[in-house]
């Protein structure tokens, strides 16, 4: 009898929640959403771009840095942090599996505007040399994993390695053209190497490139796949750094503030 009452009570409560969900508000309905989603583009895109620049700046800037060994590791770690933070915020607050995709879309716009105006127009580097990576494809799948698992732990365990794989895979498609071998200065170089030589970077000498120099030969030469596995592992760590930001630097202070009202 008690269980039946509880079930009935619970059913009633959920009906009330359903009504609450569909309640119409006069002032803070669609207008608020419009203002929020648009203004947050700059904050979220900026945060994602700055985080990426801090950890993986040059790897994302030049085609001749996008190597098989370091690029998949560093980029996976650097780019998952803010998507993870936003994923936590948007899931907890609104049950939207959109945090990673929203970050990726904002990041895409900020990165392309920056590359086009700062590096192509003002500094005249060809976009084919300085194009930014895109994380949108990986972000969609990360959000999809959260949608299916409804668990941040499972999303980190499955999503981290998949993130590393997909960030690399989506950006390897446009990179492939620049990995073709060319004959230049009496050497065999990739087109990306040739770009790095031809388009002069006086203060970024070639030896500064952190790229594969033949140090992982013990894995049958499959540096790429060893790096992807390692990249997947560090992406899990990056995911939890993002969770920390989302939980303790965003949601927790807001909750604390609201309680004081």
């Amino acid at each position: 009898m008690a269980a039946g009452t509880t079930t009935a009570g619970e059913r009633q409560r959920r009906l009330e929640l359903r009504a609450l969900l569909n309640k119409k508000y006069k002032w803070i309905d669609r207008k608020w959403d419009l203002v929020f989603w648009i203004t947050a583009i700059f904050v979220v895109g900026g945060a994602a771009d700055i985080t990426k620049q801090l950890f993986a700046g040059d790897w994302d800037f030049w085609t001749d840095w996008k190597d098989p060994q370091w690029w998949p590791v560093i980029t996976a770690f650097a780019t998952i942090i803010i998507p993870s933070a936003l994923q936590y915020i948007q899931w907890v607050a609104w049950r939207f599996p959109t945090g990673a995709t929203y970050t990726a879309v904002c990041f895409f716009m900020c990165a392309w505007v920056g590359r086009y105006f700062q590096w192509h127009v003002a500094e005249s580097y060809p976009l084919s040399f300085v194009w930014p990576i895109s994380i949108v494809g990986a972000a969609i799948i990360l959000d999809w994993i959260l949608l299916k698992t409804r668990s941040f732990i499972l999303t980190s365990l499955f999503g981290g390695p998949i993130w590393a794989l997909l960030v690399w895979a989506f950006n390897y498609v446009p990179l492939a053209a620049y990995l073709q071998p060319a004959h230049f200065m009496n050497h065999v170089l990739t087109v990306a190497d040739v770009q790095g030589i031809v388009y002069i970077r006086s203060q970024t000498p070639e030896y500064l490139r952190h790229i594969e120099r033949g140090a992982l030969r013990s894995f049958l030469g499959e540096t790429q796949y060893v790096s992807l596995v390692f990249g997947g592992t560090v992406a899990v760590a990056g995911y939890w750094i993002g969770q920390f930001i989302g939980r303790y630097l965003a949601v927790w202070p807001i909750r604390r503030y609201i309680k004081t009202l």
């Binding site: 580097y125 053209a177 070639e206």
Partner: protein
């Protein structure tokens, strides 16, 4: 100020901020501390020509840089280096680089006392008046800049192209190669992301969702309440599937169109050493003075001719500057004119075989101050450079001289470092 006028000012300032700092013209070499320029390397016989070209035409930089034995112990030892044109961004495109007769696309190994003759050919890419230097970047130290020259690049009728031959024989234009594919590929992914976002933001509201999510568990998607419905799940499956389909399509395209791909290449090498200098003179430094008010450096050295022919002191090379014991013709041949000056030698003239002479070298030139070549307020009051001796009948020696500098007059300095 009216609102209209204020808005006009903001617009003007925004436009000015965008347009005004479009290009940097100097390379900050004067900002480097004197020891970074004097004790590390010396550039000589530098030539940058022609000084006026059209877009697409070549400019050749030749010269020699020597890693001095006086390399400061405060820096990492020189091991890896990269010789590069120092220009304001890719206003030129580098076409060729040779070091000691060997093609040098990348970095190379260096050592104290090493001498590296370089030749770089670059073609004009952006119209403008550009200051062009050779430079040597040394790992752990940074880019050390040689003497520079202004080069005028006029627009050309034809569009700039940079053909590169692939190993399969196909010739591509490096300018913008595949950039449209990069953009459209990224944009296609972006569109799916936008569709994902529009689905959630147009069909649901944040305010009402928040009112519900605060009352249920974090792992609940609550389809019965309507937070995430089976319809939402279905459309997200479609978009995720579309994303994976796009990736498979892209990989198929890349794999079939570019079947041969290499990792980025890193071919570092040790350049073949040049013929060693003749042994013509033994030089003992005896001190130098620096008059900060008149920009005058006076050095005293003892030079002994140890060869079998008379020798003459022709030049003193320090950092990116060369001071010539000769007339305007000799100075014109010594390098870019802004970095070449007069060297007065007393007593001037040949030193006979076996003879030892006390030489006084006097340089009065504002470039010593302008390029901050003399350390007057630094922890180490030393300079170093190369004395170029020539032998009658041919042959030369560059003798390294490291000498301590005693200032005889200081310019007033009210704020340390300025």
């Amino acid at each position: 100020m009216t609102k209209k006028r204020r808005l006009t000012w903001i617009a003007v300032l925004a436009i000015a901020a965008f347009i005004a700092p479009s290009k940097a013209f100097a390379h900050g070499e004067a900002g480097d501390e004197p020891f970074l320029k004097d004790l590390t390397t010396a550039f000589y016989d530098v030539s940058i020509s022609p000084k006026a070209i059209h877009v697409g035409e070549p400019v050749t930089i030749t010269g020699t840089v020597r890693i001095l034995d006086t390399w400061p112990y405060t820096l990492d030892p020189p091991q890896t280096a990269y010789i590069t044109p120092v220009v304001p961004g890719p206003v030129f495109a580098l076409e060729d680089r040779v070091i000691n007769g060997q093609p040098a696309p990348g970095s190379f190994f260096v050592e104290r006392g090493g001498v590296y003759q370089f030749k770089m050919v670059m073609v004009g890419r952006e119209p403008g008046r550009w200051h062009v230097h050779p430079g040597i970047a040394v790992q752990g130290t940074g880019t050390l800049v040689g003497p520079g020259e202004w080069v005028d690049v006029q627009p050309a009728v034809a569009k700039f192209t940079f053909p590169v031959t692939l190993l399969n024989g196909k010739v591509i234009d490096l300018e913008g190669y595949q950039s449209s594919f990069v953009w459209w590929w990224s944009f296609a992914g972006f569109l799916i992301g936008v569709a994902w976002m529009l689905y959630w933001t147009l069909s649901k509201r944040t305010v009402t969702n928040l009112a519900v999510t605060t009352q249920i568990g974090i792992n609940e998607d609550a389809p019965d309440i309507g937070l995430i419905t089976p319809r939402d799940q279905m459309w997200m499956n479609v978009l995720a599937g579309l994303t994976i389909a796009l990736l498979i399509l892209g990989w198929f395209y890349a794999a079939t169109r570019y079947p041969v791909r290499l990792p980025q290449q890193t071919d570092w090498f040790a350049p073949r050493p040049l013929e060693p200098d003749l042994k013509l003179a033994e030089v003992r430094p005896e001190g130098a003075t620096w008059n900060d008010g008149t920009d005058t450096l006076v050095m005293k050295v003892q030079a002994k001719n140890v060869s079998d022919s008379p020798i003459t002191l022709k030049e003193y090379v320090m950092g990116m500057t060369t001071f010539v014991n000769g007339g305007p013709d000799a100075q014109a041949q010594a390098g870019p004119h802004e970095y070449v000056g007069q060297l007065e030698v007393e007593p001037n003239g040949p030193i006979a075989p076996g003879e030892t002479k006390e030489l006084t070298l006097r340089i009065a030139n504002p470039i010593l101050s302008e390029e901050r070549l003399i350390p007057t307020r630094d922890p180490q009051q030393f300079i170093a450079g190369l004395l170029r001796f020539e032998k009658a009948g041919g042959g030369e020696q560059f003798a390294v001289v490291r000498i301590n500098v005693i200032p005889t007059q200081f310019k007033a300095q009210y704020i340390p470092g300025l």
